[in-house]
C-alpha cells in the first residue's frame, strides 16, 4: 500500500498487497461494503489509496473538532454556574503524591493556630500561587514537592519521608528515634513545624532566583500550554505516581487506639453523644434544603415526561426524598427502597412490587422471570402507576451489574417513575451506555450537608468503634442451643485464638492439634465426632476453615479479639 505521506506529491504507488490488509482498510473505512468476492477488491487497490487520503483528511477534521471541544469546555467553565463547579478535571483526578507521616498533624496544628484564617495565607506572597497547577490546588502539597525535590540530592531515598530534624536525631541516637516515631510529643511537633516553615520559605524564596533550585521541580504554569510544557507535566506526573507507589512500605506511626485509653463507643452512645453536639450551620443547611424543595414540582413533571431523576452531592438526601414523598406522593402508589439497608436485594424489591403493588401471589423461578411478569403487567394495564424512591442506589447490595440491569429495565417502563440518590464518588461507573439509556437520567445536584445518620448506622464494617454487639449476641445465642461438649470445644478454640492474638501471622489452629486438645479435655472421643461438631459450627458461620500452604486445615473464629474476650467473660459468668 502506498504510504500516506506520499499523498502530498500526488504520486501514487501501486504495490501488491495481501487480501487481509485490504480487508483491514475496508474495515476501517465504514463507507464500503465488504463482499466475499476478493477479485474485485484486488482490482480496486488504487481506489482505496484514494480513500486513504480522504480518511486522513477526516482525521484532520477530527483534530479540528477536538480543538473546538476543548474551546467549548473552556467556555462552559466560564459559565456562571453559581456553584463554582468550574473545576478542571485535573484537580479532582490527579496522581497521588508521596506524603510524610507527620503531615496531617502539621496541617491540623496550623489550622488550629490560625483560627478563622485561611491556611494558605502564609504563602500568599509566593508568585506561583496565581498560576494554579492542575495537580495541586493546595499550596501545602506544592511546597512539599518543592521541598522534597530540594532534599533528594542531599540524602538517600529511603529517608525521603522523614523530616531532616528527625533524621539528625536518628543518626545520633537510634533509640530516641523509635520513641519519637511512635509518640511524638507536642513540643517536638511544634519544633518540626517551625523548621518546616523555614524550609518551605527558603525553597519558595529560592524559586524566585531560578539559578538556585531545579527548574524541573516547578510544574509549568498553566496558562502557557505549549506542547513541550505539556510533555514535561505529563512526565512529572508519571514520575510522581511511580515515586508514590514504588515502595510497598507505607510510613505511618504505629499508634493504636488501645493505647489511647478511650472506651469504645457503641452505636447507642454514639447516637446519644451526637445528639448533644449541635448541628453546625443549621440555618444555611435549611436554606439549601428549601432551594431543593422548590424543585419538587419540576421533578414530577419530568418524571411524567419519561425521565428519571438521580440526585447527587454531599450530604444525606434521605430527608429530602422523604419530604418529597410526603408532600407530593401522598396520593399515589409508591415504593420506598432503603438501599443502604445491609440485607436489601433486588429480589426483595421485585417481591414487594409483585406482592404488594400487583397483588400477585406466587413465586418466580428467577428475578428475570419476575421482571418479565412485572413488565407485562404494567404494559397491559395502563392505569397502573408506580413511583419508586431509592435511597442510595449505589449501595453495596445494589451496585452489582445484574441488580442495576434489572433496576434499569424497571425504570425504563413508562409508568414506573424512579427517583434515586447516589453518594459514592465512583457511583456513575456502575452504568454503561446501555444502562444509562434505559435509566434516562436527569441529574440534579442536591448538596445538603446534612449528616448521613441513617445511612451510616448500618455500616457494620465501620472502622473502630463498632461494639460488635451483634456478633456477640449471635455467638451467645447459637452456643446456648448447643450441647455442653460443643460449647467446650468452641471455648478451646476461642481461648487458643486469644492466646495468639499478638501474633499477626497466626494462621489458626490446625485440625490435628485441635483434635489432640479436645481429646485431652475429654470433649470428643473420635476424629469423626469433632468433624461433625465443626460442620455444625461452620453452618452457623461461627468458624472458618482455611487450608494452609502445607495442606493442613486451619480453624479460625472470624470475630475480632475484643468481642471474643467479651464472649469468654460472659460465658464464665454463666458458668
Amino acid at each position: 500500500m502506498s504510504q500516506p505521506e506520499g499523498k502530498g506529491s500526488g504520486a501514487l504507488q501501486v504495490k501488491f498487497v495481501p487480501d487481509e490488509e485490504v480487508l483491514k482498510h475496508i474495515a476501517d473505512d465504514s463507507g464500503i461494503k465488504v463482499r466475499k468476492d476478493k477479485s474485485q477488491l484486488m482490482a480496486n487497490v488504487k481506489r482505496f489509496v484514494k480513500k486513504l487520503e480522504n480518511i486522513s483528511d477526516d482525521e484532520a477534521q477530527e483534530i479540528l473538532e477536538e480543538k473546538n471541544y476543548v474551546a467549548v469546555l473552556g467556555i462552559c467553565a466560564q459559565d456562571p454556574m453559581g456553584n463554582g463547579s468550574s473545576i478542571s478535571g485535573g484537580e479532582v483526578y490527579s496522581f497521588q503524591t508521596p506524603k510524610r507521616s507527620s503531615k496531617m498533624a502539621e496541617l491540623a496544628s496550623e489550622l488550629a493556630q490560625t483560627p478563622g484564617q485561611s491556611v494558605a495565607s502564609d504563602h500568599s506572597k509566593c508568585p506561583e500561587k496565581t498560576a494554579k497547577t492542575p495537580q495541586s490546588s493546595s499550596n501545602f502539597l506544592w511546597a512539599e514537592i518543592a521541598w522534597k525535590h530540594n532534599l533528594i540530592p542531599l540524602k538517600k531515598k529511603e529517608f525521603v519521608s522523614t523530616t531532616p530534624y528527625r533524621l539528625r536525631k536518628r543518626l545520633a541516637a537510634p533509640d530516641l528515634y523509635l520513641e519519637s516515631e511512635s509518640e511524638y510529643s507536642a513540643s517536638c511537633s511544634e519544633e518540626e513545624d517551625e523548621e518546616d516553615q523555614k524550609e518551605v520559605s527558603t525553597v519558595l524564596s529560592g524559586q524566585k532566583t531560578p539559578a538556585k533550585t531545579k527548574a524541573a521541580s516547578t510544574p509549568p504554569p498553566r496558562n502557557n500550554l505549549g506542547k513541550k510544557n505539556k510533555e514535561d507535566k505529563m512526565s512529572n506526573l508519571v514520575e510522581e505516581y511511580f515515586e508514590a507507589h514504588s515502595s510497598s512500605k507505607v510510613l505511618t506511626s504505629d499508634r493504636t487506639l488501645q493505647k489511647l485509653q478511650k472506651r469504645r463507643l457503641n452505636q447507642q452512645t454514639l447516637h446519644d453523644l451526637l445528639k448533644k453536639a449541635p448541628l453546625a450551620y443549621a440555618a444555611e443547611i435549611k436554606e439549601l434544603n428549601q432551594q431543593h424543595e422548590s424543585l419538587f414540582s419540576k421533578w414530577m413533571l419530568q418524571m411524567h415526561l419519561g425521565f428519571n431523576i438521580v440526585l447527587y452531592g454531599l450530604g444525606s438526601k434521605r430527608d429530602l426524598l422523604e419530604k418529597f414523598r410526603t408532600s407530593v406522593l401522598q396520593d399515589s402508589v409508591h415504593l420506598v427502597v432503603n438501599g443502604y439497608f445491609p440485607s436489601i436485594t433486588v429480589r426483595s424489591i421485585l417481591n414487594s412490587i409483585t406482592e404488594e403493588v400487583l397483588d400477585h401471589i406466587g413465586t418466580f423461578r428467577s428475578p428475570l422471570d419476575q421482571l418479565e411478569f412485572i413488565i407485562k403487567r404494567f404494559k397491559e394495564d395502563s392505569s397502573l402507576e408506580l413511583y419508586v424512591l431509592i435511597h442510595n442506589l449505589d449501595s453495596q447490595m445494589l451496585r452489582g451489574e445484574r441488580s442495576q440491569q434489572i433496576l434499569a429495565q424497571l425504570s425504563s417502563l413508562p409508568s414506573i417513575y424512579l427517583i434515586a440518590s447516589i453518594d459514592h464518588i465512583n457511583a456513575p461507573l456502575m452504568w454503561d451506555q446501555a444502562k444509562l439509556s434505559l435509566y434516562n437520567w436527569l441529574w440534579y445536584e442536591t448538596t445538603t450537608f446534612s449528616p448521613y445518620v441513617e445511612e451510616t448506622s448500618y455500616e457494620n464494617s465501620l472502622l473502630v468503634q463498632q461494639s460488635g454487639s451483634l456478633a456477640l449476641s449471635s455467638l451467645t445465642h447459637v452456643l446456648r442451643s448447643l450441647t455442653l461438649n460443643a460449647r467446650g470445644i468452641f471455648r478451646l478454640l476461642a481461648q487458643y485464638q486469644l492466646e495468639n492474638k499478638d501474633n499477626p501471622s497466626y494462621p489458626g489452629l490446625s485440625f490435628q492439634d485441635f483434635y489432640q486438645q479436645c481429646r485431652e479435655h475429654f470433649l470428643v472421643n473420635s476424629d469423626l465426632t469433632l468433624r461433625a461438631q465443626l460442620t455444625e459450627f461452620r453452618d452457623h458461620k461461627l468458624i472458618r476453615t482455611k487450608r494452609g500452604a502445607d495442606g493442613v486445615e486451619y480453624l479460625l473464629i472470624p470475630v475480632d479479639d475484643s468481642t471474643l474476650t467479651d464472649f469468654l467473660e460472659k460465658e464464665d459468668e454463666d458458668v
Partner: protein
C-alpha cells in the same frame, strides 16, 4: 428495606394530570395550561418527524436486507436436490449488519426491522441478546421461547395450552425445533390451502427462521461457535438465517470465530448509515427549518452536539436532550406561550394578560428595542398594553421572516464554505449554524479566510455553487429572494458569456501558437519570463472580476441575513439559551460537586465564617470537610489515632476559649463521636475503607485531589 405505600382507594386520584405539575412555583401564571399543551403538541410533532426521518433513512438498508432474505433460501424452497446446491446449502446464510458504536440506538433499529420482517417475509423471528445467553442451552431456550410465542401470535392464541406445555416440557434441542417447524409449516399448508395458492402469499410456503444476534461482540465465542455448528447440521431441514448486529467492524466475525466455523457461514455485509449522517439529517429537519417555532441557542446546541460527538454518538440521546430543552423552555419562560405557529401566536398576543405584557417589557431584547425608539413611542410601549400587543405582533412576524431568510442564506453560505480547503468554517452545516448564532459571523477570522479562499475558486466550481444557490433560493419560502435569484442568474449568464469569449480567444491563441511553433530554448525562456512579468503586474481578468463580484454579493447577503439571533428583538420567546442547566442535567459531574462541597463549603453554605480564599478552608468548616482536608495529607494508609488527634486539635482550637478543663472529658467524647461520624461518612462516600494491613488504619481510595 422496601416499603410500599398505598393511598386509601378513596384518596387515589383517577388520573394524574401532568399539567398540574407544570404550574410549579409561579402558580399565578394562568397560561401554564396553555403552555403545557403547546409544548406537548409541539413535542409530538417533533417526535413523529424524527421517527419518520429514521424510517426513511433506514429504508434503503431494510430493502437490501429483505431482498437478501428472500434470496437466501430460494434453493431450499425449490427443494433442489442437486449435489452442488447441497454442498452450498451447508452454509448458513448470514447477514452482518454493521450498525456503529451507538449501541443504545440499535434497539430501535432492530425493533422496526423485525416489524418490517414480520410484515414481509416471515413470522419466525428471534431476537437474542448476549446477556440472556450465557451458554448454548439458554440460547436455545430463549430462541425456542420466542419462536413459539410468535407462533401464538400468528394463530391468535387458539391453542395456548399446547404452547404452555411445550415451553416447559419439550427438551430444547434442534430436533424439537425442527419438529415444531415442520408442524407449523404443515399446519399453515393445510389450513389455508386456498389462500396460499393466490398470488402474494407465496412466501408463506416455507418462511425462513430469522435469528438476530443483537450484540454479536458480547456473545461468548463458544456459544456462537456451538450454535453455528449445530444449526449448520440441520440447515436442510430448517431454513435458518442469521443476522449479526455488529458495533465495531466486520472483522470481528473472523476474530471471534475460527475458520472452521466461519466457513459454515455465507456472510453478506450490510452497512447502516452512520450516526453522524443521521444527526445531520435530524438537525437539518428540526432546527434549520421554519416548521418548528422552537429554536436552540448556540451554547445549548454546542452542548448537545458535544455530548453526541464525545460521549455516546447516540441520536436518541440527542433527541432526548432536545426534548429536555423544550420542556425547560416552556416551563421556565412564561412568554413561551407565544412560541407556536405565527398565526396562533398572533391570536395569543391579543389575549395576553397585563402581567404577561409586563413580562414582555422586562425582556432585555425588548428593552433594547424600546431604547431605540423615539420618546413618545417609548412611553406608549411602556404604558399602553394594546399598543404593545400590536408592536409585538409585528415583531413576531419580523422574527419569523428572519428565520425564513436565515435558513436559506445559511444553506447558501454553506454551499460555498463546505468545499473550501481545510474548512475554515467547518464542514457540516451545523458548525456554520453555531458560528452564525454565536456572533456576527462576518467579523470572525474564519469567515475572512474563507472569503479569501472563495475568491480563489475555479470557474466550474463557482458556477455549480451558484446554480445550487439558485436552487436553494427558489425552493425557499422566503419572499424577499426574487431579486437575489435574478442577480444570481445574471451572474450565471455572465459566466456563460465569459466562457464563450474565452473559447473564442482560445481558438485564436492556439492558432497563433501554431504559427510560431518552432522556438528554441532561449526564446522559450524569454517568453516565459515575459509571461511571468506580465502576470504579476497584470490587471484582473474579467473572470476574476466577476468572481470578486460574486463573493462580494454573497458577503452582502450574509451581512444582511445572518445576524445572530440574540440581536433580534423578542428572541427570548423562541430560543432556549440556558446551557448550564442542560449540562447540569445531562452531563453532570458528581465528583466535582463533591469536591467543591468538601473543599469549599462556602459555595453552598453562605456563612461568612466559612469564607476563605484560595484552595484552603477555615477551621470552622463542617466536620466532614475538616476530616477530608486532613486525610488529603496522608498517603495510602492513614493512622486513625493520628487522624483523630489532628481532628480534635482543630476542633478544640475553635472551641478553645470556652472549653473548661472540668468538662474536657465530656467534650472529648463528643469530639470522638463527631470524628466517628465524619469518618463513616467518608467511608460511605468511598474515600476510605477499612484496612487489615495494620491495626487501626484505614486505606485511602483516591489519588491526590488536593
Amino acid at each position: 428495606g422496601c416499603f410500599v405505600f398505598k393511598p386509601s382507594p378513596k384518596k387515589r386520584k383517577v388520573s394524574q394530570k401532568t399539567a398540574i405539575d407544570f404550574r410549579g412555583r409561579n402558580n399565578e401564571s394562568e397560561d401554564s395550561e396553555l403552555r403545557f399543551v403547546t409544548c406537548q403538541s409541539l413535542w409530538n410533532q417533533i417526535k413523529s418527524e424524527t421517527e419518520q426521518i429514521q424510517e426513511d433513512l433506514n429504508k434503503q438498508l431494510f430493502d437490501n436486507l429483505l431482498s437478501f432474505l428472500r434470496r437466501s433460501h430460494s434453493e431450499f424452497r425449490e427443494k433442489t436436490t442437486e449435489w452442488t446446491c447441497q454442498m452450498k446449502s451447508r452454509e448458513i446464510p448470514t447477514a452482518a449488519l454493521v450498525l456503529g458504536v451507538n449501541v443504545t440506538d440499535h434497539d430501535l433499529t432492530f425493533r422496526s426491522f423485525s416489524e418490517v420482517l414480520q410484515n414481509n417475509i416471515t413470522p419466525y423471528i428471534a431476537l437474542l441478546e448476549a446477556k440472556d445467553c450465557p451458554d448454548v442451552k439458554n440460547l436455545m431456550q430463549k430462541l425456542m421461547g420466542q419462536l413459539m410465542n410468535c407462533y401464538i401470535d400468528v394463530d391468535s392464541l387458539e391453542d395456548e395450552d399446547f404452547v404452555q406445555v411445550s415451553q416447559n416440557r419439550i427438551r430444547c434441542s434442534m430436533t424439537s425445533l425442527i419438529n415444531w417447524y415442520e408442524n407449523v409449516t404443515k399446519k399453515t399448508d393445510s389450513e389455508t390451502p386456498s389462500k396460499k395458492r393466490t398470488s402474494s402469499s407465496r412466501r408463506w410456503q416455507s418462511p425462513p427462521v430469522v435469528v438476530i444476534f443483537k450484540d454479536m461482540e458480547s456473545f461468548t465465542t463458544k456459544v456462537l461457535q456451538d450454535f453455528i455448528v449445530i444449526s449448520s447440521q440441520h440447515i436442510h431441514e430448517l431454513p435458518l438465517v442469521l443476522i449479526f448486529g455488529i458495533a465495531t467492524s466486520p472483522m470481528i466475525i473472523h476474530s471471534l470465530l475460527p475458520h472452521s466455523v466461519s466457513s459454515l457461514l455465507c456472510i453478506e455485509l450490510f452497512q447502516s448509515l452512520s450516526c453522524k449522517e443521521h444527526l445531520s439529517t435530524i438537525i437539518d429537519k428540526l432546527l434549520l427549518t421554519t416548521q418548528f417555532p422552537f429554536k436552540l441557542g448556540e451554547k445549548v446546541l454546542q452542548v448537545l452536539i458535544n455530548i453526541f460527538l464525545y460521549h455516546d454518538f447516540s441520536v436518541q440521546n440527542f433527541i432526548k436532550g432536545f426534548q429536555l430543552c423544550m420542556v425547560e423552555h416552556f416551563y421556565s419562560q412564561p412568554l413561551s406561550v407565544l412560541c407556536c405557529q405565527l398565526v396562533d401566536a398572533k391570536k395569543r398576543v391579543n389575549s395576553l394578560s397585563h402581567d404577561q405584557c409586563e413580562n414582555i417589557r422586562k425582556l432585555p431584547s425588548f428593552r433594547r428595542y424600546v431604547e431605540g425608539q423615539v420618546s413618545e413611542k417609548q412611553i406608549a410601549l411602556l404604558t399602553a398594553d394594546n399598543f404593545l400587543k400590536e408592536i409585538v405582533q409585528k415583531l413576531l412576524e419580523d422574527l419569523h421572516v428572519y428565520h425564513e431568510n436565515y435558513v436559506s442564506v445559511l444553506r447558501c453560505l454553506h454551499v460555498f464554505t463546505s468545499s473550501l480547503p481545510k474548512y475554515p468554517l467547518g464542514k457540516q452545516i451545523r458548525e456554520l449554524h453555531c458560528a452564525c448564532l454565536e456572533n456576527r459571523v462576518w467579523e470572525t477570522e474564519e469567515y475572512e479566510s474563507s472569503l479569501q479562499l472563495a475568491r480563489m475558486l475555479n470557474k466550474s466550481d463557482v458556477v455549480t455553487m451558484l446554480q445550487q444557490c439558485v436552487e436553494i433560493f427558489v425552493s425557499s419560502s422566503g419572499k424577499e429572494f426574487d431579486k437575489t435569484v435574478e442577480k444570481l442568474k445574471e451572474f450565471l449568464t455572465q459566466f456563460q458569456k465569459l466562457e464563450e469569449a474565452i473559447q473564442e480567444r482560445d481558438v485564436s491563441v492556439s492558432s497563433q501558437k501554431e504559427l510560431q511553433k518552432k522556438t528554441d530554448l532561449f526564446h522559450l525562456q524569454k517568453t516565459l519570463l515575459e509571461l511571468k512579468e506580465s502576470r504579476r503586474s497584470k490587471k484582473l481578468t474579467k473572470f476574476e472580476m466577476l468572481r470578486f463580484e460574486v463573493v462580494d454579493y454573497i458577503d452582502s447577503l450574509v451581512r444582511t441575513y445572518l445576524i445572530p439571533a440574540d440581536h433580534k428583538t423578542l428572541h427570548e420567546i423562541v430560543y432556549f439559551n440556558t446551557a448550564s442547566v442542560l449540562r447540569g442535567h445531562l452531563n453532570a459531574a458528581p465528583r466535582i460537586a463533591l469536591h467543591t462541597a468538601l473543599n469549599n463549603p462556602y459555595c453552598y453554605l453562605k456563612n461568612q465564617a466559612l469564607k476563605s480564599d484560595g484552595g484552603s478552608i477555615s477551621n470552622k468548616a463542617p466536620d466532614i470537610c475538616i476530616v477530608y482536608k486532613l486525610h488529603l495529607e496522608c498517603g495510602r494508609l492513614i493512622n486513625l489515632v493520628d487522624w483523630l488527634e489532628a481532628f480534635s486539635t482543630v476542633v478544640m482550637a475553635v472551641e478553645g476559649p470556652n472549653a473548661d478543663a472540668a468538662s474536657s472529658d465530656q467534650v472529648d467524647d463528643i469530639i470522638h463521636a463527631r470524628f466517628i461520624r465524619a469518618i463513616s461518612e467518608l467511608e460511605l462516600l468511598g474515600f476510605i475503607k477499612p484496612s487489615k494491613q495494620k491495626t487501626d488504619h484505614v486505606a485511602r481510595l483516591t489519588w491526590g485531589g488536593c
